[in-house]
Each structure stands twice: as C-alpha cells, then as structure tokens.
C-alpha cells in the first residue's frame, strides 16, 4: 500500500527530524544553561556589591568622623573657683562655702545631656563664679553601647577625669568642649586620638596624663558609679513608657531630682531661696 508506506515514511522522516531537532536542541541547551548561569552570577554580584558597598560606606563615615577636629572651647571664668577630683572619680567644682550642691549625672554620648548643658551652662557658670553653687559631675558610661564601636562614654569620661587629676583648671574647658561638639548618637564616637588632640590644644599633656588615659585608670570606678546610680531609687525619674528608672542626665539639687526641662528657673529659684536678699 503506497499510502501506508508513504505515511510510514513520513513518520520516519518526522522521527528523524525530531531526533535531529533534539540534537540541535541539546547543542543549544548549552546556551540555556549559560544564560541561567549568567543570571545567577549577575544576582550574586549585585548582592555582594551591595553588601560590600554598604560596609565600605560605613567605614568611610567612620574615617571622616575620625578626622574631625574637636574645637577647643574655654570657660573664661573657671579660674575663679576650685576644681578637684574626688576619690570616687567624681569632680567637684565651685567654692566650698557655697550653700547649694548640684549633682549632675551625665554621659558624654548623651544628647539630652548636651541639651541640658547648652540650656543651663551660662547660669550654672554664673553661680559657680558667684560662689553660691557647687557642682559635682558624675560622668558615667551609661551609653557605652551607643557608639560604634562601643566605648566612647567610658573613653571620654576617663579622659575628663584624667584632665581633672593632672590639670584641674582645664577640666571645665574639656567638659564644655566635649558637649559643644558631641559625636552623633549611634555613630562613631570620637577616638582616643581626637580626644588627646583636644586635650593637647587645651594645654593638657605629659606622661602622667597619657598613663592615666591609656591605662584606663578610672574605668572601673566609672562603672561602679553607674551601677550605684542605676540602683539608687532616689535618682529615678519617670520614663515615657510609664516605668521609672535611672537615666542621664539626672540633675539633683540639694537632694531632690530637678525637672529641668519643664522648670526652667529651678536654679535661680534655688539661689533666691538659699540666699535671700
């Protein structure tokens, strides 16, 4: 039957061209795998570039921050009153005859402490010079973890205490300078080199000073002061989520915690009370 043979032949031809097509497709299959590989490589390269780029950018920011020069600010009147470091690594400034004692629990990394300092520095300084007030600075490391890398709070507090030890007349300058130029919270804190540069420009240098700094002499006492303050209920203040606890800044005037954000005349009122005309 010609029809049958023709159809068988047609089938055979279809079979052969199908087989041939498969062979071509197998050769072409190399291209399919290749484009899949290229896609995979593109994805991996883009993701890796993003990760590496992010890390490098963050390091670049830290490098830029490390090159900042902390301006050296001086407190002109600080020569008018004594400054001394106490055994518990707090710094007492002001004349001993002052009737009012203010305890300032602060952290150099803390932005709200900076707000307190910029808001009240002038009035506090005026009272210090007038001899009505003594201030005890408790420099703490509550926010050690807030700098990247961690540890700026301890570093700056330790160096401030070192300044108070070797050059007490420069302590107020150093303290003021650090609050005038505070590092970004959750960012790179100032490095030891930057802080040493500031101290040097303020005139604080020498072997003993460097030993106190590199030896981290006051670190343990700073931590102890923090632990004691954190558990001292008399220092607790309410926080926005309802609970109360210790935080910085805590300003205590004659034993009571001051709400300096709402009570802006707390210092003037206190002076008026203790020094009635």
């Amino acid at each position: 039957m010609s029809g049958g043979r023709a159809s068988r032949t047609r089938t055979k031809r279809q079979g052969k061209s199908a087989a041939a097509a498969k062979a071509v497709a197998a050769a072409r299959g190399g291209r399919r795998d290749l484009s899949k590989i290229v896609v995979a490589v593109v994805v991996v390269v883009v993701v890796a570039a993003a990760v590496i780029g992010g890390v490098l950018f963050e390091q670049h920011k830290a490098n830029v921050a490390a090159q900042t020069v902390i301006p050296a600010r001086t407190v002109a009147g600080s020569a008018k009153y004594p400054v001394s470091i106490e055994k518990d690594a707090t710094v007492l400034v002001g004349r001993p005859t002052a009737k009012i004692t203010v305890d300032a629990y602060e952290d150099f990394e803390c932005p709200i402490c900076r707000e307190f300092e910029s808001q009240y520095f002038t009035s506090v300084e005026r009272q210090l010079e007038a001899g009505t007030v003594q201030v005890r600075y408790h420099m703490l490391n509550l926010l050690d973890q807030s700098s990247v890398p961690a540890g700026y709070s301890s570093l700056s507090a330790n160096m401030a205490l070192a300044v108070a030890t070797v050059a007490p007349d420069k302590f107020m300058d150093f303290h003021y300078s650090l609050y005038q130029k505070q590092p970004e919270e959750n960012g790179p804190g100032w490095t030891q080199a930057q802080l040493l540069s500031l101290a040097d420009r303020l005139g604080v240098r020498g072997t003993r000073f460097h030993q106190l700094v590199t030896g981290r002499t006051y670190y343990r006492q700073i931590q102890t002061n923090l632990d004691n303050a954190s558990t001292n209920k008399a220092l607790f203040q309410p926080s926005s989520n309802g609970s109360s606890g210790f935080g910085t800044p805590t300003i205590v005037a004659d034993g009571t915690v001051v709400n300096w954000q709402s009570d802006t005349t707390w210092l003037a009122d206190l002076v008026k009370t203790r020094y009635p005309e």
Partner: protein, 191 residues
C-alpha cells in the same frame, strides 16, 4: 500532528490555570519587591536608627554592629531591585527567604529573652524609646513575606520579568531551529 509533535515542551502553560498562577507570581514578586525597597529605604534614610535597631537584637558582637547596619540598607535595596525587575526569580526568592528567616530568628530570640529597646538616656519626660512589645505581629508579618518569597522559589514565573524575557528569547531561538529543521533527506524507499 507534525506541528504538535515538534512543539517544544516549554510552550505548555497557555491554559487559564497557568495564567492565574502567573498572576499570583507577579503579585508575589511585586509585593516582595515593595517590602525590600520600602524597608531598605527607611533604613538608608536613618542610619543611626538602623544601628540602634541592629544593636537592640543584642546578638552580634559589638564590632559587627556597625558593618551590618551599614550593609543592610543597601542589601535590601539591591534585593528589592532584583526582585522588581524579575531576574533570577528563584535565586532572589531563596535569598529573600533566607534573609527573612534571619530576621525572624532575631526577633524570636529578642522576644524569648525579653529584650526591650531602651536607650536609657532621658531627662524628666524626655526621650526613652518605648519597649518593643509587638514581637508576635512582627514574626507573623515576616512569615507572610517568607510565603511570598517561597512562591517565587517554587514557581518563579511572572509577567513583565527579565526571566520571562530571557525565556521567550530562548524559546524563540529553539523554535526557529526546530522549524528550520535539518534539510529534508530523500527517504522514499528507506526503511
């Protein structure tokens, strides 16, 4: 018939079920892209907050907090872009799912340890970040995103995707080859 036998297998799927599945795939892909781009954008806009958030999980050594917080925004944006254009959907689906699982694990361990985000820096009613109490919602939300990514892993097909464009290019190439075919051989008489 002849054409039917020679049609490449991959052209299957013109049925309405496959169209619906492609639609779902497209929705998953665009949704996942929106998640990554939105999240990456927020992170990139506030690097300090990103550092604080990474630290809040309290799971990385202190030296890694900075680099991870630096890498995450760009990683999420890059992933979002790749998912958006639909290139390597299965691979980006896998990467997305892996990253989401890492996030879920971080939130879960925060929850288990009762961690709260608390900067501790305040002054008489100033800034204390409220305690993080939305752990279950966060985990559920992230699991939802994993489902989107998982769909793309299982069925990486959607409309308007680079993958689809590449696939059509390959199919057209093969079809041209098949249609052209080898030169017909005289086979009359051969068995």
């Amino acid at each position: 018939m002849d054409r039917a036998r020679r049609r490449p297998v991959a052209v299957l799927g013109e049925g309405s079920l496959s169209r619906v599945l492609d639609l779902i795939g497209t929705a998953c892909r665009l949704g996942l892209a929106a998640v990554w781009i939105g999240s990456g954008w927020v992170k990139a806009a506030d690097p300090a907050q990103t550092v604080a958030a990474v630290r809040a999980y309290d799971v990385l050594p202190s030296g890694l907090v900075g680099p991870v917080a630096g890498a995450l925004p760009l990683l999420e944006l890059a992933l979002g872009l790749l998912v958006l254009i639909g290139i390597g959907q299965r691979l980006t689906g896998v990467l997305s799912a892996v990253l989401l699982v890492v996030y879920i694990a971080g939130v879960a361990q925060s929850w288990a340890r009762g961690l709260t985000i608390d900067c501790g820096c305040f002054g008489g009613g100033g800034r204390v970040t409220a305690a993080q109490t939305h752990y279950p919602q966060e985990i559920l939300r992230d699991i939802g995103f994993v489902v989107l990514a998982g769909w793309l892993v299982v069925r990486p097909r959607s409309w308007w995707s680079v993958d689809g464009w590449l696939r059509r290019g390959r199919q057209d190439g093969r079809r041209q080859q098949v249609d052209a075919g080898p030169s017909p051989r005289p086979s009359v008489g051969r068995t």
